[in-house]
């Protein structure tokens, strides 16, 4: 039989058994579609987290109090080994690798002004904070060195705060009260969105750390120190430099452990990436199960149709079909069904992913290698279970194939 004639025979046979064809393809369609959608969700989340970490600021290093080895609950957790502004000042003065340094003083309070009040995070920071965190102004300007030195009562609002207190966008120049202290709004930040863990980065008010320390907190220690380097390659050296300066600032003896932790952005990223990778893997596992179930569906339908098909093979052989004719026909049938089902599955996957991003707001990313794996797997199942019974039947005497029950 010529190839084109075989193709015609195979296509006719596929169309003849519409139900069987549909059920077989359904397994492939759902399997492939599910894998693509699930992995797209996982990968979408992963790349969104990567993006957000990048969004935190470039080449950032975070210094916090407490040893990393004992999980921050170090033995001498007295006030003396907390971070202080002078630590930040020392690093800023002595460092040669760092391009920006800012202490961060954090407190929560009610902001009163504009249309009402809003409980939010107050971050007391230095001028470098704008640059380290890669912030951009929506309106007005960031405070300057003089504001910090003179403990000016000025504030820069995050997008969420501005939206809630000044929905008309006329916040700049107005006053808000934080713990009854009036602050003049000098700027509003562009939105940054949520962090990987879901905190709204725009729900905060920035003010000079000097002002926050004296007016709002009344304590001398600070939450963390943020620094950055201009070149990512400098980060390891910068971390060592920071460690030396911090030990000096804290007056630690050679035998004493660090009472602070220095972490860079890559480490933060890796931690976050780790969780999302687990999530992606989990989703992929679930999807694989659906692919497997799809595969079993294909298998069942193929096996159930064996009796009927064995008789058909017997008839074909009785009128002169060679074993190879029958096998090729079945192989083509299986391939046509798998490829067609796989293609529909890919369409379903793309469609589903797009719908999810559009209506649920989930970031999705269709990975080509997963598409390929899903298609190959279901095609393999379809081909194997389509072909295997055919091969068995074609090895029979025609009369035995005809008699098969």
């Amino acid at each position: 039989m010529t190839a084109s004639r075989l193709l015609v025979v195979a296509t006719k046979s596929i169309l003849k058994n519409k139900m069987r064809t549909l059920l077989t393809m359904l397994g492939i369609i759902i399997g492939v579609g599910a894998v693509i959608i699930m992995v797209a969700i996982g990968q979408g989340a992963q790349s969104r987290i990567a993006e957000q970490i990048q969004n935190l600021g470039t080449n950032m290093i975070v210094i916090t109090a407490g040893t990393s080895s004992s999980g921050g609950v170090s033995r001498g957790s007295g006030s003396y080994n907390r971070l202080r502004v002078r630590d930040a000042e020392l690093i800023a003065q002595e460092s040669i690798l760092l391009s920006g340094v800012t202490p961060v003083v954090t407190t929560f309070t009610q902001a009163v002004g504009g249309t009402g009040n809003w409980r939010t995070l107050i971050n007391g920071v230095g001028v470098d904070y704008e640059y380290i965190r890669a912030l951009t102004m929506f309106d007005g300007s960031f405070f300057n060195q003089r504001d910090v030195r003179q403990m000016k009562k000025v504030a820069v609002l995050g997008w969420t705060v501005a939206e809630n207190l000044f929905p008309d966008g006329d916040g700049v120049g107005q006053q808000i009260r934080l713990r009854n202290v009036p602050f003049t709004i000098i700027g509003v930040l562009n939105p940054k969105g949520q962090t990987a863990s879901g905190t709204d980065q725009d729900d905060q008010i920035l003010a000079p750390y000097t002002t926050v320390q004296t007016r709002l907190r009344g304590r001398s220690f600070i939450s963390q120190i943020l620094v950055n380097t201009s070149n990512p390659n400098d980060i390891p050296a910068a971390e060592e430099e920071i460690a030396v300066l911090m030990r000096e600032s804290h007056g630690l003896a050679a035998w004493e452990e660090d009472d602070f932790t220095v972490r860079n952005q890559t480490e933060l990223a890796e931690a976050a990436q780790g969780t999302t990778e687990v999530m992606t893997l989990l989703l992929a596992a679930i999807a694989s199960i659906s692919l497997l179930v799809g595969g079993i569906g294909i298998m069942n339908i193929m096996l159930v149709s064996v009796t009927e098909r064995t008789k058909e093979i017997g008839i074909r052989m009785a009128v002169g079909a060679r074993g190879s004719d029958v096998l090729t026909q079945f192989l083509i049938e299986s391939i046509v069904m798998s490829v067609f089902g796989g293609a529909l599955g890919v369409l379903l996957g793309f469609g589903g992913s797009t719908l999810l991003s559009r209506f649920m707001g989930w970031g999705t990313e269709v990975a080509p290698d997963i598409v390929a794996i899903a298609i190959i797997f279901s095609a393999a199942v379809g081909i194997f279970f389509g072909f295997y019974p055919a091969r068995k039947a074609a090895a029979l005497n025609p009369i035995d194939a005809l008699r098969y029950e």
Binding site: M1, G320, I399
Partner: protein, 298 residues
């Protein structure tokens, strides 16, 4: 019979043994069977005597357990599967005891099937040839019907058309009239006689005594052995068919003449009479059913 005939089928010492659960069934116990070119042979025998088994081997659908089978001078029991497939395709037209048509496939496509596997390289129009074969069996108008939309007799005729479509030199039919009424059976045998007259060798398995009058030679199997082999002068199936039809018309006319009354009852009676006539024809009498037909026709 004057000139030297070519031998088409020659089996010697063919046995077929089925072993099931320890017991062995000798379906064929050493059959020497020879058929010359142009013969029209009927194989008869009780149920289970091995008729189908012999036909399947002769039709290259099955291998014998022992013995040799020479088809057109080729020892086919030594051939490999592909060669046998080609022989089935080119030389033999096989009509099965149970039609064996492809389901959900039109009559035309069923008939076309053997042509799909034709490796002879000859160029022809598949559809046209299949349609011609259907015309021969009188089913030209049912080409697009599926087997489940056809009567038993029509399915049988599709199976015959499929066997004829490749122009085989040997036609093997296993109970081709097993599912047909007597009139249709006579029709089928008329067709076989026509084909035989054109030079096709035909072997038919049957256990209906009335149709064996139409063949040139009768062979009887019993318990896997040939016990009888007789030549005879065949009756003409075409003539018998004419008589049957004439008898039917007579019966109808007679019914119409005798019954005076409502059209409905006349029709019913006509049907009754019709059935009676049919029974007469089918009825097996030692003298042969042909006489009955003659008497009726005269």
């Amino acid at each position: 019979m004057q000139k030297e005939k070519k031998t088409v089928i020659e089996t010697s010492g063919i046995t077929k043994i089925y072993s099931m659960g320890g017991t062995e069934v000798h379906a064929l116990a050493g059959v020497d069977f020879q058929v010359d070119d142009g013969e029209f042979v009927a194989i008869i025998g009780a149920s289970g005597s091995g008729k189908s088994t012999l036909m399947n081997i002769v039709g290259c659908l099955d291998y014998p357990s022992k013995g040799t089978y020479i088809l057109d001078g080729v020892e086919v029991n030594k051939l490999e599967r592909n060669a046998l497939a080609d022989i089935r395709n080119q030389k033999i037209g096989f009509i099965f005891q149970g039609f064996n048509l492809l389901a959900r496939t039109s009559a035309l496509e069923n008939v076309e099937l053997p042509l799909l596997y034709d490796r002879s390289g000859n160029k022809y129009n598949l559809k046209k040839r299949a349609r011609e074969a259907l015309e021969i069996v009188g089913l030209g108008d049912r080409a697009d019907h599926h087997p489940n939309e056809l009567s038993g007799g029509q399915q049988q005729r599709v199976a015959i058309a499929r066997a004829l479509v490749t122009d085989p030199s040997l036609l093997l039919a296993d109970e081709p009239t097993g599912n047909l009424d007597s009139k249709t059976s006579v029709e089928v045998f008329g067709l076989f006689q026509e084909l035989n007259a054109k030079g096709i060798t035909i072997v038919v398995v049957t256990h209906e005594r009335d149709v064996i009058h139409y063949v040139k030679r009768v062979v009887e199997l019993k318990d896997g052995l040939l016990i009888r082999d007789e030549l005879q002068t065949p009756r003409s199936a075409a003539e018998d068919l004419e008589r049957i039809i004439a008898a039917e018309i007579d019966a109808e006319n007679a019914a119409e003449n005798t019954v005076v009354g409502a059209d409905e009852s006349a029709e019913n009676l006509a049907e009754d009479v019709d059935e009676d006539v049919t029974v007469e024809i089918v009825k097996e009498t030692p003298g042969g059913s042909t006489q009955d037909i003659n008497e009726l026709a005269v």
